[in-house]
Subunit: 205 residues, 2 copies
């Protein structure tokens, strides 16, 4: 990211040759950025699939009974959220890798979907952590007993899935930052910056 | 929000008189924007205080026993999150209303804190909804019984508090959008926009 002021100053004496050089350089930066963004979208895809598979296969039968992820609403929601996340991550990685111009509707779509996915996955991680917390600790005042003593294997796998989900949240928080940068850097800064009124007429020579 | 291109075109023939006029106009837009942002920060403050007070006063004693918000970890977290939210909303409203120039560190601080608060409040709302869901429905496979049949008043008040918390989340999502706009509109757009390379030399005419 380059500050507007310094970038403007840097190209004051731009000749056609430096323009061509800068276009080639831009092309390179461009490819690097696209690759970085694609990777940043493929990693959460892998994480979501992992969290999804761990949770899907999570069931345990003991002498006390049997417990499966589908018995708990929070874990069902976690599986759905991770499925949506994996699908969206793959699709958005494909769109991000394609070398074509990035229009405003694209930027707005990425912005809204990235933010929405972040909230969706964060909520899934949060509700599942709460269920795990209750399963480990119980709550005597509301007569809910700790169940992880009986279903230790189930709780361990569920914890692994939830931890991976929170790592995904971190990746999505960064992706949200990136997509807001890509969207809002194309807009003018709001008027409450004194520098703005001086800079624009200077550009017009 | 004005698109860079159209704004650049609009001031090509800027004379000193139109500049003065535009400064006065900017000042007006500026004040309106500041007032709008301050209101947008004061509303969630009121909401957070309401959700906090409802939850803090929430306890019920019946023949089956007594239940208070502090018996449940999720509701304790909700109270803390709403307290932090109320404090931050007030402080940020005070900072937003002050008529002074908005520097980059300010913009970054607002951006990170607004995003962080959104995640914090969303997580609080999510874990509390999960507890309410279990309290209303119970989960026989994990031996947790529905308790809202015994503690109806408690559950109703908790639901009200959680709903208000989700309204706060919506306000904070908008505030996050606003603070990312205020931050990233001050940066140059990334290089993968073909228009960029042509536009800058044109400005240097």
């Amino acid at each position: 990211m380059i500050d507007k002021g310094s970038s403007g100053g840097g190209v004051v004496s731009a000749s056609p040759i430096t323009m061509m050089e800068s276009t080639a350089e831009n092309e390179e930066v461009n490819t690097t950025m696209r690759t970085a963004e694609t990777l940043l979208r493929l990693v959460p895809m892998a994480l979501c699939v992992t969290a999804l598979v761990i949770m899907l296969k999570n069931s345990q039968s003991t002498d006390f009974g049997s417990l499966s992820y589908s018995d708990l609403g929070a874990f069902r929601y976690l599986v759905h959220a991770n499925g949506i996340c994996a699908g969206y991550s793959l699709l958005s990685a494909i769109v991000a890798v394609m070398p074509r111009s990035f229009t405003m509707p694209h930027a707005w779509t990425f912005f809204f979907l990235d933010q929405g996915l972040t909230y969706l996955i964060l909520a899934a991680g949060a509700v599942s952590s709460e269920v795990l917390y209750l399963a480990y600790k119980g709550d005597t005042s509301i007569t809910w007993s700790a169940q992880c003593g009986y279903f230790g294997g189930f709780c361990h796998k569920a914890t692994a899935s939830v931890v991976i989900t929170f790592v995904t949240v971190a990746f999505y928080a960064v992706l949200s930052l990136l997509s807001s940068y890509k969207l809002f850097s194309r807009y003018d800064a709001p008027v409450d910056y004194p520098a703005k009124g001086i800079e624009i007429p200077a550009f017009q020579g």
